[in-house]
């Protein structure tokens, strides 16, 4: 589904990703771990098309197309979803309104029929129930005045409604207490399916206790330096990032 090859990217003139390669197949859950400054968030931002991230070499192929050539909205329509580390507050834009605009814009881009507000609301209410989120959230402006946990849950809720094929979770666990973390994890698990892939970017392995990954990769200095299964995360927990990836191919 996603094939990243030798990806190099710069931010403000500084090279952050230095030849990252990764393949993700449908149905798989990959965890990307690494110390601060390794390039974890840059990877998420490059994949979703944020401005200011310059790809200097390498390629990203998504379902056979060049993902990097697409505008952010086109990536979304193609099924790529980024759960932001710091979701922005947008005062004055109603959450439901926003979500329906996004939902229908994506359907329209895919040549599907748009959903009227009644049917959309029904769909949203179903998802709310699954995500265990109160519908009071629907009446508020996007992320405005939300607590850290509410913002993250709102991201997962959006993901549930938009049903992407590839979900990138950027430090979704950061700043969450254990209850909020469990709720977020529950939301993610509910969305796991053979058609959908996840890329979870995280600093701690804590989240991986609740969302068990198929693969764990260690990102250090802009490259994947080690890959393994869940046990790699546990090893990291025990020993930290020091010494990881030494002797790995450059």
């Amino acid at each position: 589904m996603l094939k990243i090859e030798n990806l190099h990217a710069r931010v403000e003139g500084r090279e952050i990703l230095k030849g990252l390669s990764l393949t993700v197949n449908a149905g798989e859950v990959h965890a990307i771990m690494g110390p601060n400054g390794a390039g974890k968030s840059t990877l998420g931002n490059v994949l979703s098309g944020r401005e200011g991230y310059e790809v200097t070499a390498g390629s990203v192929t998504y379902n056979g197309i060049d993902l990097l050539a697409l505008e952010p909205e086109a990536r979304a329509a193609a099924g790529v979803f980024l759960a932001f580390q710091y979701p922005v507050e947008i005062p004055g834009v109603n959450n439901t309104y926003f979500l329906r605009a996004a939902f229908n814009a994506q359907r329209k881009a895919r040549g599907e029929k748009e959903l009227d507000s009644m049917h959309f609301l029904k769909l949203v209410r179903e998802k709310l129930k699954v995500m265990q989120i109160s519908d009071e959230l629907l009446h508020r402006a996007v992320n405005e005045g939300f607590s850290g946990g509410e913002k993250k849950r709102n991201e997962i809720f959006q993901m549930a409604v938009l049903e992407p094929q590839l979900a990138i979770l950027d430090e979704t666990d950061s700043g969450l207490d254990i209850d909020a973390l469990k709720q977020v994890a529950q939301g993610v698990n509910a969305l796991r399916s053979p058609e959908r892939a996840f890329l979870m970017i995280t600093h701690y392995q804590r989240l991986l206790d609740y969302v068990v990954p198929d693969f764990v990769h260690v990102l250090a200095d802009g490259r994947i330096v080690e890959s393994g299964d869940k046990s790699l995360a546990l090893k990291l927990e025990e020993h930290g990032y020091v010494g990881i990836g030494e002797g790995a191919p450059a």
Binding site: G49, A76, A77, F81, L82, I90, G92, F98, A105, Q106
Partner: protein, 434 residues
């Protein structure tokens, strides 16, 4: 600021004969204001209040005075109707009262509503204070010519403690005519002690035209009176519209204003409020959204003159294309107005390289125990928000429109009438550049 040769505009406006009323004090006031206008002419940009609005081009134009065919102009009745609003209505076409378009039957108890042209045939003493005013500032040119030439407008009174639930609609229609016209309207609105009123002032266009209209409204709120006032300006794109709304609030009176400035070529609104009685409260909210070559100038001036008076003002501007938005928000807390609380915010979006925003929030504080704050910004749509929307699949143009609407709507959120609020939103969206 006297001119050596009178400007065509000044000359053409002075061409109108003074409307004779037979009321000695009124005729004197008209004559004196006319003379003041004739001798001082138009202010130039050296006059602080007109710093950002040059009248050079307007000064070179001539207008025919009044419309003798106003009674027979065809106006689409649908354009007068606001969704959910079904109360008394007073309609003026090119400044002339139109009984056929108005709804004045079965007025609720406590409400007096009639055109000025009729009110002048009755007891005029209650109008004397407002209509015998002299305008003394150099910047008052349009108020002067209005005082001299206006012979119609609205006279509205709400009796003590009367609560008028149905909104009263005042509609000013600029209708296409054979030539560019100048017309003037003078409104006198008074809420007696404890009275309550919801008022909607509309400016609408019937066909393309380039008239010059002046409006002067005096609004007085006696003790404990409450007014919800919505001003919806959607004049013809070629029209010049110069308005002055003066509010006087006595003790514990409370006025809430929502203003939407969308239409017109050259638009100026002087919105002045005096908080004269202890505990008076004023809230103003407004959006101005010039595009094309529009020039929209709002001059808000609030004077706190009594103890514990409160004002809050929240205004948003969006300028596009080659348009210019001007905002001045001046708050004065006079000596003795202790315990006053004043806040003002003006945020603006500049969306095009040829558009301009000039904003000037002012604070003048002479009292103690005062809380006053103002803020102003000029900038663009937030890049992070834009990216967030796009990353969820909303195309760029749509995302921009969405954020722009949200930016403006924020100040309309406390409009109590939901239908009206939605209608204003719809107008905003229709007005957005796409």
């Amino acid at each position: 600021m006297s001119q050596s040769a009178p400007l065509p505009l000044v000359e053409s406006l002075l061409d109108a004969p003074l409307p004779g009323s037979g009321i000695a004090w009124l005729d004197t006031a008209r004559l004196e204001n006319r003379e003041a206008f004739a001798s001082a002419g138009l202010p130039d940009t050296r006059v602080e209040a007109w710093k950002y609005t040059a009248l050079r081009a307007l000064g070179q134009r001539s207008f025919a005075n009044g419309d003798d065919q106003a009674q027979t102009r065809v106006v689409d009745a649908a354009s007068l109707i606001l969704p959910g609003v079904d109360g008394p209505r007073l309609v003026f076409v090119n400044g002339v009262f139109r009984a056929d378009l108005s709804m004045l039957d079965s007025l609720p108890a406590g409400l007096t509503l009639q055109p000025l042209s009729q009110a002048l045939h009755g007891d005029t003493e209650p109008l004397r204070f407002a209509l015998s005013r002299h305008y003394r500032e150099t910047g008052d040119a349009f108020a002067r010519i209005n005082a001299a030439n206006a012979h119609d407008g609205v006279v509205l009174r709400v009796a003590a403690n009367a609560k008028i639930t149905a909104p009263v609609q005042l509609v000013f229609v600029g209708a296409a005519a054979e030539a560019a016209l100048a017309w003037h309207a003078r409104n006198v609105i008074e809420l007696a002690e404890g009275a309550e009123l919801t008022l909607i002032e509309q400016h609408v266009a019937s066909g393309e035209q380039a008239h010059l209209a002046t409006l002067v409204s005096d609004i007085e709120l006696h003790q404990g009176a409450r007014l919800h006032h919505t001003l919806l300006q959607n004049a013809a794109i070629g029209a010049s519209l110069v308005r002055r709304s003066s509010l006087r609030l006595h003790a514990r009176a409370r006025a809430t204003l929502h203003v939407l400035e969308l239409g017109g070529a050259l638009v100026r609104h002087d919105l002045q409020a005096e908080l004269l009685g202890d505990g008076a409260q004023l809230d103003t909210r407004g959006v101005f959204m010039p595009h094309g070559r529009q020039h929209i100038d709002t001059q808000l001036a609030i004077r706190h003159q009594a103890l514990n008076t409160t004002s809050s003002s929240n205004w948003r501007g969006v300028a596009n294309d080659r348009a210019r938005g001007v905002f001045r928000g001046a708050i004065v807390v006079a000596p003795g107005a202790d315990g006053s609380d004043a806040s003002l915010s003006n945020k603006n979006l500049l969306l095009s390289p040829s558009a301009e925003i000039d904003t000037k929030p002012e604070l003048e504080i002479y009292a103690d125990e005062v809380k006053a704050a103002h803020g102003a910004t000029v900038g663009q749509l937030d890049e992070r928000s834009l990216f967030y929307l796009r990353s969820r699949g909303i195309p760029q143009a749509e995302a921009r429109a969405l954020l722009t609407t949200a930016f403006c709507r924020a100040v309309l959120d406390d409009l109590p009438d939901e239908t009206l609020r939605e209608h204003l939103s719809t107008l905003l969206i229709a007005h957005l550049p796409m």
